[in-house]
């Protein structure tokens, strides 16, 4: 039981870290056509995530891999039931990755316009769809006792699912705007800061609406009312949103971005805690739900994987922090002129 519960929360943590890291990459890509007015500014925006986006994306691979290793039945059912949205996300991630690399290989307006569009779609579509997918997971999905999905893409695009999509998109856009505030200077920086200020009230409102909607559309609050101390997670998340506002006003972008990171982790955990121990709930019958206890791997596999994760994830965090700190500071013209393509 303890082992399975530990894995449940590790599973949640990996997704949270993924959203926190790749989230600002998505945000930068979503804001890209609106904030990047000149070619120089566009290059700067791409360069701001250039050294880290690839490493960030591996958190997704790890979250997926760990779902496979620790909860094979969940991995199998979740990804086959969510076939179409997941494939759309994967295709979007493919074109995002290559657009970053390909864009500056050829000096042609038409060429760049194609990859600029791909970069925007490849960033905004996953942001939206991850939100739709997770909101549906919070709500429960029509799967039967054999894990067969009874529905289609439109089943997932219900009002609560769409609300989740918009919420994720807004969170990531704000996260990305703050990252740009942190990494850029001049006009681009000022525009990013103004955008962050405009996005902030939207994030606050949609987060509150999402929490209220979750009360009516999901069973997430059962755990909260059983253990009222858990409400702290919601309070901390909302406080973090106000923290963003405070630091943004002061122009302290590092802290504002950190507060935004906390908001994203908090928002993810709001759902994860509410779900426990359900990983993939059935809206047809609770008996068909896959939980940490009925869908996990054998104790041996869970123990070995726990060992691997406890040794290597701290190591990963250590060298990723090192990488981030190496590329701290504003993007300069010198940074853009390194001849490697992007």
């Amino acid at each position: 039981m303890a082992l399975q519960s530990t894995w449940f929360f590790l599973w949640g943590l990996l997704w949270a870290v993924y959203f926190m890291t790749d989230g600002f990459d998505f945000g930068v890509g979503t804001l890209y056509p609106f904030l990047g007015k000149t070619d120089h500014e566009k290059k700067t925006m791409i360069a701001s995530i250039g050294p880290v986006w690839d490493g960030n994306e591996v958190w997704l691979i790890t979250a997926g891999g760990v779902t496979f290793a620790a909860f094979p039945a969940v991995y199998a059912t979740m990804f086959s039931a969510l076939y179409t949205p997941l494939m759309l996300i994967l295709f979007a991630l493919i074109i995002r990755g290559v657009s970053i690399e390909f864009r500056n290989q050829i000096e042609s307006q038409a060429w760049k316009r194609v990859w600029d569009t791909c970069f925007f779609i490849g960033s905004s579509v996953p942001a939206l769809l991850f939100g739709v997918a997770f909101a549906n997971i919070f709500k429960g999905i029509p799967i039967d006792e054999n894990g067969i999905f009874h529905g289609n893409l439109l089943t997932l695009l219900n009002p609560y699912g769409l609300l989740g999509g918009v919420e994720f998109l807004l969170l990531f856009m704000l996260h990305g705007a703050l990252w740009l505030g942190l990494k850029t200077q001049g006009d681009l920086h000022d525009r990013a800061a103004r955008t962050a200020e405009k996005l902030w009230p939207l994030v606050l409102v949609f987060t509150l609406v999402f929490v209220v909607a979750s009360y009516f559309s999901t069973d997430l609050f059962v755990n909260y009312f059983a253990h009222p101390a858990l409400f702290l997670v919601i309070i901390i998340t909302v406080a973090a949103i106000f923290g963003i506002r405070v630091y943004l006003k002061k122009g302290a972008f590092v802290l504002a971005w950190a507060a935004s990171s906390l908001t994203i982790v908090g928002a993810t955990f709001f759902g994860v805690i509410g779900l426990f121990p359900t990983l993939f709930g059935s809206s047809m019958d609770a008996a068909y739900s896959l939980t940490a206890f009925n869908a996990s791997s054998s104790p041996l596999t869970l123990k070995i994987m726990l060992g691997v994760v406890l040794v290597f994830i701290p190591l990963v965090i250590a060298y990723q922090v090192w990488a981030y700190s190496m590329f701290m500071g504003k993007i300069t013209d010198e940074d853009l002129d390194h001849g490697e393509g992007y």
């Binding site: 991995y75 041996l300 994987m305």
Partner: protein, 434 residues
């Protein structure tokens, strides 16, 4: 539409496309690391220039490899959920370990390498490329151990209606997987070496930067020669193990129908699977298949007729793939040996240089053929002897798989076209831009 067939096509398209790029990432990262180390050690600017030149090629190739790898990890869940549920306890952990121990390292350090030229010393920057190379190969090792388990499952028990892990060390020291590693990794390095040699030869033929490209050529020639020999030897050892644990694959490789002593190799054979015979045979070399399978010319080799019909792989594809791989795998040590003998007189051998330009794609063709042999030859099993491919697919509609299959073909086709266009353009242009 048949979900199993469509899902197989989709997985084949996605893996084969992915593996057009991966071997070059593996091979070129090692060669770049050697080049950059030479620069850090000697201060010879030529090595820096070639690191930058081939580095740009590497990055275009790298990104296509990375983005197409992501879909593969998720396809086990989307298209093969019955398989994932049944074997996830063993198989899933290998993929998860790959991500945590290797893929993170590779992806984080590649970012540092691209953007860290001015932030790190020459030595530290070269060390970063070594980390990328190491992580890439480590990553391949974990993936190959996962594939090795599908080829020859070990260290598990059937419990709770699924395969559960019983002995982790048996899984990671699976002989089949180890043989795949010592065969596939050097094969990938051969591709890296052939790309550098081929592009260098192209510019040597045009007398561009002769000194620099001669250095690059010789450096990668050494890698190519050593790895061709290793890959040849390990391929032979791998064959013996296949004969032992996958007799159906071995028989299909050689369109071998009758169980017999002194089993022959046929240089050309067109199998007639319906009537269990070969329509056409040419070039019978008696005893050679027995030798290949056991290193004994007189040994008995099981024929396809003694394997139940529903446990035989498609013979023609398996056989063609095998012959392609072996033919090319024999060419690589020969040509690299000849080049090594003439390494001091490269400029006087334009024919050899020309051969190397046109040989660029050969290693990747051999590698793809090797994978077709490994995967098609394993059919009808998804996990050899344990689970059939037909029982492994997801309970989903064929229509959505058809749509994504078309999507894969279009997107990957376009991606491949653009990627290769950019690489060709850069390779041809030479150092003017670097």
């Amino acid at each position: 539409m048949d979900v199993v067939f469509l899902s197989r096509l989709q997985f084949a398209a996605a893996t084969m496309f992915h593996f057009l790029f991966v071997p070059l990432t593996l091979g070129l990262s090692v060669i770049l690391a050697i080049m950059e180390t030479q620069y850090a050690r000697t201060g010879d600017e030529d090595y820096l220039k070639m690191t930058r030149f081939f580095g740009k090629l590497f990055l275009i190739n790298f990104v296509v490899g990375i983005v197409t790898g992501i879909t593969l990890e998720f396809q086990f869940g989307t298209n093969w959920s019955r398989y994932s549920e049944y074997v996830g306890d063993v198989f899933g952990s290998l993929l998860a370990i790959e991500a945590t121990t290797s893929f993170f390292l590779e992806s984080t350090f590649i970012g540092i390498w691209i953007f860290g030229w001015k932030k790190l010393s020459a030595k530290a920057h070269a060390a970063v490329m070594w980390m990328v190379a190491l992580a890439g190969s480590l990553s391949a090792i974990w993936i190959l151990s996962a594939n090795g388990w599908m080829q020859h499952p070990v260290g598990y028990v059937i419990r709770n209606g699924r395969a559960e892990l019983d002995d982790f060390f048996a899984v990671i020291f699976n002989k089949f997987a180890l043989l795949e590693m010592v065969h596939t990794l050097p094969a990938s390095y051969i591709f890296g070496a052939f790309v550098v040699m081929g592009i260098s030869a192209y510019h040597l033929l045009r007398k561009h930067e002769v000194e620099l490209f001669t250095k690059a050529f010789r450096l990668s020639l050494t890698v190519g020669l050593v790895c061709s020999v290793i890959s040849f030897i390990t391929g032979d050892l791998h064959g013996i193990h296949v004969a032992e644990v996958q007799p159906a694959k071995l028989a299909a490789m050689e369109s071998h129908w009758e169980t017999q002593e002194r089993a022959p190799i046929l240089l050309i054979a067109i199998p007639d699977e319906e009537n269990e015979r070969n329509l056409f045979e040419f070039g019978r070399l008696p005893g050679l298949l027995s030798f290949l399978a056991t290193h004994d010319f007189n040994a008995v080799v099981t024929g396809l007729k003694d394997i139940p019909k529903d446990e035989r792989p498609p013979v023609l594809i398996t056989a063609v793939a095998f012959k392609t791989m072996v033919g090319l795998g024999t060419f690589f040590p020969l040509i690299t040996f000849i080049l090594w003998v003439k390494r001091k007189k490269l400029m006087e051998s334009p024919l050899l240089l020309k051969i190397m330009v046109y040989s660029i794609p050969l290693p990747v063709i051999a590698i793809e053929a090797g994978w077709i042999l490994a995967e098609v030859g394993r059919q009808p099993w998804i996990v050899y002897g344990m689970m059939k491919t037909s029982d492994a697919a997801s309970p989903i509609g064929g229509a959505q798989v058809l749509v994504t299959l078309i999507g894969f073909i279009l997107v990957y086709g376009l991606l491949g076209a653009v990627g290769y266009f950019l690489m060709f353009k850069h390779a041809r242009k030479g150092l003017v831009s670097a």
